[in-house]
Symmetry: C2
Subunit: 221 residues, 2 copies
């Protein structure tokens, strides 16, 4: 477990059509975490450096492109309606396949991009479990279409080396989980309380569960 003064770098993978709540649940949580983890760095990475147009119309500027990403402790792939295009984007898939699986994570429908990249093959994994609005299928039900040997399960977070998180606001829970995996649960819980998410974190975990793979067994964590 790292000391709270230890350095770590998280990269958040964005693309056109990411939901802005996924930016808030990843970059936003990491920004608040820096108040107690002073050497935690967070940056955004996209296929091209510069403007990325989010769902709903907000534009953010990606810090770096795939080729110029510095070494990272953790990459988190965001979700949002742009996920469909990314599952056939060769540059995105090649970028994800170059990463060490232990350093990969997703929030919401970002899990479907990891599925398309093949990095969920044989692993338990989650993504958004509910269809929203005009959708005719829940993303979780689409996972095996992209990764036939992945084992989908509803959850807040599934840690099978590759960490996948559940839908929408559960991006916050998944990012807190990743911070806890690196810096310990005590710091994680301190950050959850500071951002007024301690009640949500506990009630989500109780309702949907955190799961971790140990050898071939999935345990509630």
């Amino acid at each position: 477990m790292r000391d709270r003064n230890a350095a770590a770098t998280f990269a958040v993978v964005v693309y056109d059509g990411v939901e802005p709540i996924d930016i808030g649940g990843t970059i936003g949580v990491l920004s608040m975490a820096r108040r107690v983890l002073p050497n935690l760095e967070a940056l955004t990475v996209a296929e091209a450096h510069g403007p990325v147009r989010l769902a709903g119309g907000l534009t953010v500027l990606a810090d770096v492109d795939f080729a110029s990403l510095p070494p990272c402790d953790q990459l988190i792939v965001c979700g949002g309606p742009g996920w469909r295009r990314e599952t056939t984007n060769a540059a995105m898939l090649a970028f994800l396949r170059r990463q060490a699986p232990m350093r990969l994570a997703s929030v919401c429908t970002g899990g479907l991009i990891l599925a398309a990249a093949g990095v969920l093959d044989g692993r338990p994994a989650t993504t958004r479990r509910l269809a929203v609005g005009a959708e005719d299928a829940a993303p979780l039900d689409l996972l095996n279409g992209l990764a036939p040997t992945a084992r989908p399960r509803p959850a807040v977070v599934v840690d099978a080396g590759v960490v996948t998180g559940g839908g929408v606001s559960l991006a916050i829970d998944a990012t807190l989980y990743l911070i806890g995996r690196l810096y310990g649960e005590r710091v994680r819980d301190e950050i959850a309380a500071a951002i007024e998410y301690d009640r949500a974190f506990a009630s989500n975990k109780s309702a949907l569960g955190h799961f971790r793979q140990t050898d071939d067994t999935i345990v509630s964590n």
Copy 2:
């Protein structure tokens, strides 16, 4: 109460040093809400159109400047460490004073900017109740320094015409509250469930409360 096909425009007020979780909790919730409220529009407004550098380093592009904001049903002022500078920014304060109080809202330390603008005078109000990291005071304890006749209270949301929300992730709750005020609680709760925030919304309300001013009385809402 508006029909779910009725139009509404929300503007989210941003400035250098907004916390990105406040973007997720406002613009992010509104973007997801559009999946069931097809004519809900959301845009970002800043003193100048274009790049705004958030806390933690992410840059977003503000859609419009103060002078070119179209008529809006609701303005929400974000929080973040940039709030201190904004409390003495004449352009920001004049902009807020030009708005009808019933259309003003804040999340997190955005409430301190409303306080400085004088729009919380005589009203109950909230803001982040916890000090985080190196802060030597909780924002809620600073409210009366900026608005001596405001009545600070810890809460998820205080609706005194001007709606103020609590800290950090409670931006999600405050935005859901505002959607409910306009479109009704049934649609609000549907959106909360769709974004997996129904458990958080209920537990936060139970722990910290939603309060509404009716005449001179504050009632739990």
